[in-house]
Amino acid sequence: MAQQLFAYIAHREGAADDSALEMVTAARRIDAEAATIAVVVGSGAQLDAVCNQMAASYAEVWKIDDGALAYPNAEIIRELLVRILPPQSMLLVAHDTFGMDLAPGLSVKLDAAFVPDVVEIEAASDGKLTAVRQEYSGMASTHVACDMSGGIVINMRPGAFAADESKGQSGQIVDKTSEALAGGLPSVARRFLEVVEAEVGDVDITKSEVLVSVGRGIEDEDNLDIIHELAEAMGGDVSCSRPIVDAKWLEKPRQVGTSGQTVKPKVYLALGISGSFQHLGGLKGNPFIVAVNKNTKAPIFQVADVGVEADILDFVPELTEKISELK
């Protein structure tokens, strides 16, 4: 019998997250012959829609359906997975805000190895997995070896693996609800209350064609003037990376990234932004990216079209002046 490879499927409003098809690719890297099993937890018609969608890409789909699971509470789902996963399971999970909540504790409960935020899988054989991770905000990469003989939970970085669009499966949907809920819903000490939607700002940067985006390299709140002046000269809007919002120098609706806004400008100026994957995750639509940074090791230079090695505090005023002279 082919070995089984499980993937936990995140989904919203009846549609699977993009990571669902990326995990099909990751699973194939681990074992191209494995029987891939999508685990989908939720409730009602939306859950069924996701299960049907996944049946085209996974050899099997395990569903757990209960009204109390309509919103995913990692504390509950962790217990359900412990109940249904066979011993020594291999499980893929997206390294997103839910996966970070769920997976480290799950690996402990399963007594399995754990490897977080994997960006590449190089080899998997004889109970050993060799994967690639990044450290120091993407400035250095590492190979890690994991003993998966006792099972493993792998958190896969969203976007790191290409989506498998082949849809070559006609997977059977297996209802695991009664097995998972035998003995009732797990009683947990953390209860979901509500989702508070992000505030709306004075400028909607998701609509901007030109974004002048500032990061930690600005060093001081008073220096932000040079960014506003450049944006004005270019006819663009000011956006930023996370540290600027953490420091409360700009408001949250101006933050680009997975925990902020997803933007799709034509032109994106990354000024003093190192380019963490969480930041780049909010940048869509293949914009023309210009990176200005004094640290040439910054990961932003790997994704930018054009780079300038410079201190933004010196370079930006020069650029603004020249653009203003054109007008």
Partner: protein, 263 residues
């Protein structure tokens, strides 16, 4: 409220360029500036603010070598009451599970209502808090960006989720939280503050003090091991503009005009 905050001494990536050694065995550490992990600093600030509102104490703990004492002292200068250094040659090479197991024994040595970690550290793993909670059998919430104390041993926390939305949860104490940056504004610590706590005793706990099972910690107990460091192939990478500042500015303006970046 008795609060334990787990902290880590890390190279400060805003102060350093990280270079990989030519043999790939490590990053070049000779000239690195170290500091407390940024996320942990927010966790300690949050702990201090809670203690100042409702009383109790804040203890900071780290797993590391002798030099890690400096980050404990820094957080004590911020206002933490006690520090614990978990240090032993036998802990070298521990993976996340090993570190969490060590922290678990520190938790069991006290009577804590609330245990906090940073949401992640220099290795971007975001794993310790969740593992620790599971080992302790206590509830966990990650990426916490607000904490409100309720009655009857409960708290209300906000978790930062995708798109800038916040997921509100009610959790029973004792629990483990991993703290996201931006939850507060950590206070500044000056040289004088650090001098004030320079003479405070920080107990060091090794394997024998903790009674930790050796099959969980150190390189031998690790199921996940780092093999090397490397610099990834850049792929295409950015076209770097060269020349004098004037020349670079000129080239950049031409490119921006062509791409519709100047209106």
């Amino acid at each position: 409220m008795e609060i334990l905050v787990c902290v880590k001494r890390v190279p400060d990536t805003s102060e350093n360029e990280i270079e990989v050694k030519s043999d790939g065995s490590d990053i070049a550490r000779d000239d690195l500036v170290y500091s407390v992990n940024e996320w942990d600093n927010y966790a300690v600030e949050e702990a201090i603010q809670i203690r100042d509102r409702v009383g109790g104490s804040v203890t900071v703990v780290t797993v590391g070598d002798d030099e890690s004492e400096e980050v404990l002292r820094r957080e004590m200068a911020m206002g933490a009451d006690k520090g614990i250094l978990i240090s032993d040659d036998r802990f070298e090479g521990s993976d996340g599970r090993g570190i969490a197991a060590l922290l678990k024994s520190a938790v069991e040595g006290g009577n804590y209502d609330l245990i906090m970690t940073g949401a992640q550290a220099d290795d971007g793993a975001a794993q310790i808090g969740g593992m620790l909670a599971a080992m302790l059998g206590r509830p966990f919430a990650s990426l916490v960006n607000s904490i409100e104390l309720l009655d009857d041993g409960k708290i209300k926390v906000g978790r930062e989720i995708e798109g800038g939305n916040v997921e509100m949860n009610e959790i029973d104490l004792p629990c483990v939280l991993s703290i996201q940056t931006g939850i507060n504004e950590p206070r500044y610590v000056g040289i004088r503050g650090i001098r004030k706590v320079a003479s405070l005793e920080i107990p060091v706990q090794g394997a024998d003090d903790l009674g930790i099972s050796p099959d969980l910690v150190g390189a031998a107990g690790a199921r996940t091991q780092r093999l090397d460091y490397f610099v990834p192939e850049m792929g295409e990478g950015a076209e770097m503009l060269e020349g004098s500042t004037d020349e670079i500015v000129e080239k950049l303006i031409e490119l921006l005009k062509a791409k519709g970046g100047i209106k």
